[in-house]
Structure formats: C-alpha cells, structure tokens
Amino acid sequence: MLKQTEGSRAVAEAVAMCRPEVICAYPISPQTHIVEALGEMVKDGTLSPCEFINVESEFAAMSVAIGSSAAGARSYTATASQGLLFMAEAVYNASGLGLPIVMTVANRSIGAPINIWNDHSDALSQRDSGWLQLFAETNQEALDLHIQAFRLAEELSLPVMVCMDGFILTHAYERVDMPTQAQVDAYLPKYEPRQVLDPAEPVSIGAMVGPEAFMEVRYLAHAKQMQALERIPAFAAEFRQIFGRDSGGLTHTYRTEDAETIIVAMGSVLGTIKDVIDEMRQPENGGHKIGVLGITLFRPFPLARVRESLQGAKRVVVLEKSMAVGLGGILSTNVRMALSGLHMHGYTVIAGLGGRAITKKSLHGLFRQAEQEALEPLTFLDLDWNMVNKQLEREKAHRRSGPVAENLLRDVGVVAARNY
C-alpha cells in the first residue's frame, strides 16, 4: 500500500513485518526514530512476540544481539556513527561467530570533530568486519533491503548491515509502497538457525582457536561471504516476484549503455546524480554520454560486476562520502581493484563529508571537468580553500596555533564558537 511517511518509520514497519524476536538498541542520532518506533510497536503489542531490550550502550546492544541470536532468536539492532565504533569489538565477534543479526546503520560521520550529519565514514570503518553491507538509495529501497537482509543473513548465517543515509533518508518523508504481512511471510521463512545454543543438545559457540586452524576459519568466513554474490541476485529476483518491484541486487546502472563517463556512487546521492545525468544528456545541453553505476552491495564487493559495468567507459569518476586519510578514497580503492589492468582515466571525488550538501550545480561542473580530463586524481568537492589556507598559514606562523576545529569555526563565524 502506498503511503507518505518518514524513512525511519517505513524501516521500522518493515523490520516489524520480519517478525524479529529480540530488538536491543541504544539511541543515537539519526537512528533514533527507527528504534523508538519499534519500541512503541513492542509495547503496544503490534509486534509480538518480541522482546525489546533497553541496553546501556552500543557495546551492550551488539553483545545482547549476539546472545539472543546464538540462542536462536531473530535479532535486530540499529546504530550510527560513534555508536557503531563503540560496538566495534562485538561487531567483529558477531560475524566471526556466524550469527545472522540484521543491523541498520543510519549513516553519519565520525568525530572528532563531533558532527551529527551524514556521510559514510561509520559503515565503511567496519568494511572488513565480516558483515555484509548493503546501501539504500531511497526509503523504498531501505525498507526492501531490510526484508532481504533477514533472508540473506539467515541463509548464509552471517550478519548484514543495511546502510541508509542519516537524515537525508531517515528523516525524509516520501512515498513508499509498504508490503503486506502476507508478502513478507511468503518471502521470509521462519528462522532456522544453522547453529544454536540448545540445552537439549549442548554445544559451545566461541572457542579459542590457535595458529593450527585460525587461518582456515578466517578463509571460510571469506568464502562464505563471497557466496552472497550469487545469492543476492537470486533473492532480488524472488523479491520481485512477490513484491512486484526491483530492489536490492549487487549494483544498479543508469544510462551507462553508451556512456563514455561513468560515475560510481552509493546511497541517496545517486538520485541527485541521476537528475544531473538526465540534464546533461539532453541534446540542447550537449548530449553528454554520461551514466552512473550505483553500488548496492559494498561487502562482499562485486568486483566482476563492477568491472563489467565500467569497462566500456573512457573514464570513471568515483564520488564518495568517505575518505581514507593518508590515501584518498575508500570506495574508489575498491573500484580501482575491479579495474585492474584496464587503461582508463580514474578520478576520486570526496564529497558530502559531515553533511556538506552535494548540489546539482556542483555536480554539473565536476562532471564536465572530468570529461575534459581536467580533474585532479583526488578532488574534494566544494572545499573552501580560503578556510584551509588560512589555517595552514596560522600553523606556519605560530607553533601554538590552537585547535583546528575551533579556529575554523571562528573564521566562518559560527556563533557557538565565539569567545564571549
């Protein structure tokens, strides 16, 4: 049924339809509305049987999810930013133990400096944690991916992170097609654990493993995650049969057939990019041959699919809301690996960090520069060089030049940072 609702609410309702038996979460912006809504549904009985466990931290949230999942309960949690970092040790344990937990990450930057706005730094910091990572472009896709995530997690016995842009999606009201409970029940079978703590048949989960077998356990984790590359397209096809729409999969392409320039991106910025591409492709605007590849599955990274989608292009521009300090891009490093041995121009563009708006106007300029091979290999979109240079001058002039964040806020005149 079509309805106009908040992204967080839509995801909460979709998660509830997946019949989780344990939800444990600690509130953090911009994830809070999701778990608040689920908490209400548990309290008023619309989501039953389900236990909502208030925990004292994100570390506890993931620890409880590990326990409940190992005991055979379908388990869900959600977090963002510093919350994800705080639970990091348990995040690795969840995947190492092969527990099919589903977690929403409402993508937000990581401090310091503290910043509540959107980018992909949080989820990408856990890219090697052994979790599958899916990125939603719209709220429709966010809610659909959660339904697919439980199916995928439980089939492979691996945890899945569903990433959706904080605020931009979580707090946006837009049209979504809510599935029926019958559709979700038809798609998602009852949870049958591959391993379970059962007093009737006692086992231990979580043995210490020495050098004699550790490599093999780790290899098997990799091999298991790689199975997702085959399962996900099949699950997406089955999803289309039941729900009547395309959602999920490994990647999405848009107008790439004859494209000489292909942009690569993840998440909600794909919508803005598509609008720019449509405008640039109009004959009166020069009929630019440009398209975009959206990465839906970031882990495991679909190397073969990405290579296949990009190999016909002359140049590839990876636009990412994340950054590897001391290297450049994270997504672009992964894309580069998919393109090994191919001769083409490749550009990394860091954009939208900490909620900096990514505008159509800036993208028009950026993409035209790329077409003329006039981009630096590593570009920071809409960076204020005056602000940067002023601080660099300050550091050169004075050894004790003060904290960077406070200096820059004073330069731009943000009231809260002024000395009164």
Binding site: Q4, F167, I168, A172, Y173, G271, T272, D275, K360
Partner: protein, 198 residues
C-alpha cells in the same frame, strides 16, 4: 516541481509543517518529499524545513536553495536569517504576522514583486484562539493553500486529521480554515488594487 522552504524556530512545528505539506500533496496523488535542515534543533533556534512537490518521482536530495514559496513562521527571523535567499520576484511569501509587509520593513524589497503572491496571516493568534497553543504551523498551511494554489484546502484538512486527533485536530482545522479565508481575502484585495492601478 514546486519547492517550499519553511523558516521558523525550534518548537514551532517547522518540520511537522513540511511533513504535513508532503502528506497533503500525497493525498492529491502527487509525489512529495519533505525533510528538515538536519541541524541540532533546539527550542528557539532557527530551523528550516523543506518540501518538494512534483508529478513524478523526486530523486533530488539537495537542500532547496531556489524555492518557489517561502513560509515564515516567526517574523523575528527576518533580522537574523536570510530567509528570502534564492526566491525569485514571482515567488510566493507567507509570513506569520499581524503586520503588513511595509510595517515589517519589507516594502522596498517587494516593490516590483507580484503582490497577490505576498501574504501575511496572524497564525499565532489563530492557533491560540482555536488550539490554545502558540504553534503557528498548521494555520500557515491553511494560508499556504490559498496563496500558492498548489494544494487544495481540503487536502490540508485531511492531512491535519491524519496527524492529530480529537480537539487538537478540530482546533487546527478551524484555524487552518480561518487562515485560508484571511489569505484569500488579502489576495483579492491585492488583485483589486492592482486592477485599479492598471
């Protein structure tokens, strides 16, 4: 695509107004996208929310920098925030105030604008009268239905019913209707004046 930017202060229901606008548009079978300015909202701090309305899917995710219409929930913001940034001279403005544009010091700015698109409505007073709380957002939506003509007042009333219930819903509906009537009258007055000048 029609783009609306709403300026107000934390606690005045700015985000709720944008969301309800999107619901009203959805009820008319249109696509709509509402989102807040993503600040750390606090009571009294300037807050911005946005709403896009279109006949096709809305993919754009940038903030609204060139709005077609601006709703100002708190006129004290006029001296604090560049609320009119990006608005064209044929744009729509609706301000919560019992003063006129001249009295607000905006006379020079709007001299060659289309006056029937520039309206004020004492939304705070209407909210106090009908709802008993100083929350001007819903009466302003009623006024907006009149000034911009992109939404029917009936859709706004329906959206109120989906958001609120009981006395609060009834009060807000009454306030929205009265605001709609006030703005309609203002626009007719502006048109009449313009016809006289012509």
């Amino acid at each position: 695509m029609f783009q609306v930017r709403i300026h107000g202060r934390g606690g005045q229901g700015v985000v709720t107004a944008a969301e309800m606008l999107s619901v009203a548009a959805f009820d008319e079978g249109r696509h709509a996208q509402a989102f807040p300015s993503f600040g750390s909202e606090r009571m009294g701090a300037p807050v911005v929310a946005f709403c896009r309305i279109d006949d096709k899917e809305i993919r754009l995710r940038e903030p609204i920098m060139e709005p077609d219409a601006i709703i100002i929930q708190d006129p004290t913001l006029l001296h604090q925030v560049d609320v009119f940034a990006g608005l064209r001279k044929d744009g729509y403005i609706l301000i919560n105030t019992s003063k006129t544009f001249d009295q607000l010091g905006l006379g020079d700015m709007i001299r060659d604008w289309r006056h029937e698109r520039l309206c004020t409505v004492p939304a705070m007073e209407l909210a106090l009268k009908h709802v008993g709380r100083p929350v001007p957002n819903v009466p302003l939506l009623g006024g907006f239905a009149a000034v911009a003509g992109v939404l029917q007042i009936e859709s706004v009333i329906k959206a109120i019913g989906e958001r609120f219930s009981g006395k609060v819903a009834a009060g807000n509906v009454a306030a929205a209707k009265e605001a709609y009537a006030i703005v309609k009258a203002e626009m007719e007055e502006a048109r009449r004046k313009e016809a006289q000048h012509a």
